[in-house]
């Protein structure tokens, strides 16, 4: 009884936000109709006193989401999976085309420029959702 009460309490508690994590200019590149994958970009900053590691991402709007990084080595473009983004205190980094990005699989609905989508970043036990705007952006 004690255990289930504790479990219920634990489940009902919202997870702590990623301490000090700031996200700005979150955007998703509008994709051609029927595209099975999309990519999201943003600027991230750790305004807190402790190191942060963004390990996973998810969104109710997509079948799956992953943190990826594109690298060009010897003229070959490769996508690295299972990446962890480490942000020391005070550090900021850009998720941008041709580099770090959030890969978004199987959109639940067609997304058009101007649509807003929430994406959740997981930093260890903590999670935090941020708004991303769909944009038709060249370059």
């Amino acid at each position: 009884m004690k255990f289930s009460a504790a479990a219920a309490l634990f489940i009902s508690l919202p997870a702590a936000a990623c301490p000090g994590l700031e996200l700005s200019d979150g955007w998703i590149r509008e994709a051609p109709p029927g595209a099975a994958v999309m990519a999201a970009y943003a600027r991230l900053r750790n305004a807190g006193p402790a190191p942060l590691s963004v390990e996973k991402v998810r969104s109710a709007e997509f079948g799956a989401a992953e943190l990826h990084r594109t690298v060009v080595e010897n003229g070959i473009s490769r996508m690295l999976h299972g990446q962890i983004l480490h942000l020391p205190p005070g550090a900021s980094t850009a998720l941008e085309p041709g580099g770090w990005h959030l890969m978004l699989f199987r959109p639940a609905r067609p997304l058009k420029a101007g649509d807003e989508v929430a994406i959740t970043l997981e930093c260890g036990e903590a999670v935090q959702s941020f708004p991303f705007t769909v944009r038709n952006k060249s370059e």
Partner: protein, 206 residues
Amino acid sequence: MRAFKPVAAGFCAIFALGLGIWTASEWYAPAALPPIESGVLLPEPRPVAGFSLTDQDGRAFTNAQLRNRWSLLFAGFTHCPDVCPTTLSLMKLLEQRLQAEDRALSMVFLSVDPERDTPQQLHKYVRYFSPNLTGATGPVEELERLCASLGIAYVKVPGATADDYTIDHSAALVLLNPQGKVAGYFQAPYKLDSLAADLARIIPKT
């Protein structure tokens, strides 16, 4: 006067011969291309092996579609969320810039993922970027031969499921001349302004 005639005729012959050689060299040897800042031009354009692919409308796409025009080719796949749409968006802007200057450049997106990129899928994909962008793909052996000949590489990388693979591929843009030969390469990361300036030096106004 009599002595002068053969000498004058000789001069005329030499002049005519010289003119002929000069004209022939202008007509048959392509003029040296100017240096470019965002890529490399080959000292000697390289022929492309014979290939037979299908475009986004189910029509044949062969060496013939690379002749009589300058073409810019990018190899990728539609399940590529970052580099491919970024590069195709850039190609769309590049096309608009060159069109405004009356310079004709044909754009080609070569899908190296024929398993998932059917002509129908390619049609939806390329039309999103431009009404003039050609999408082409075909049997693996044709793609392999063409890519080897173009000097571009790709390799399939398995994912969590059989359908979930990705493809590492050359990030280069391949420039083909109106003889359908490889003229050079542009290398990522791309800057629209320098690419447009380079292509304006190479492609004459129509």
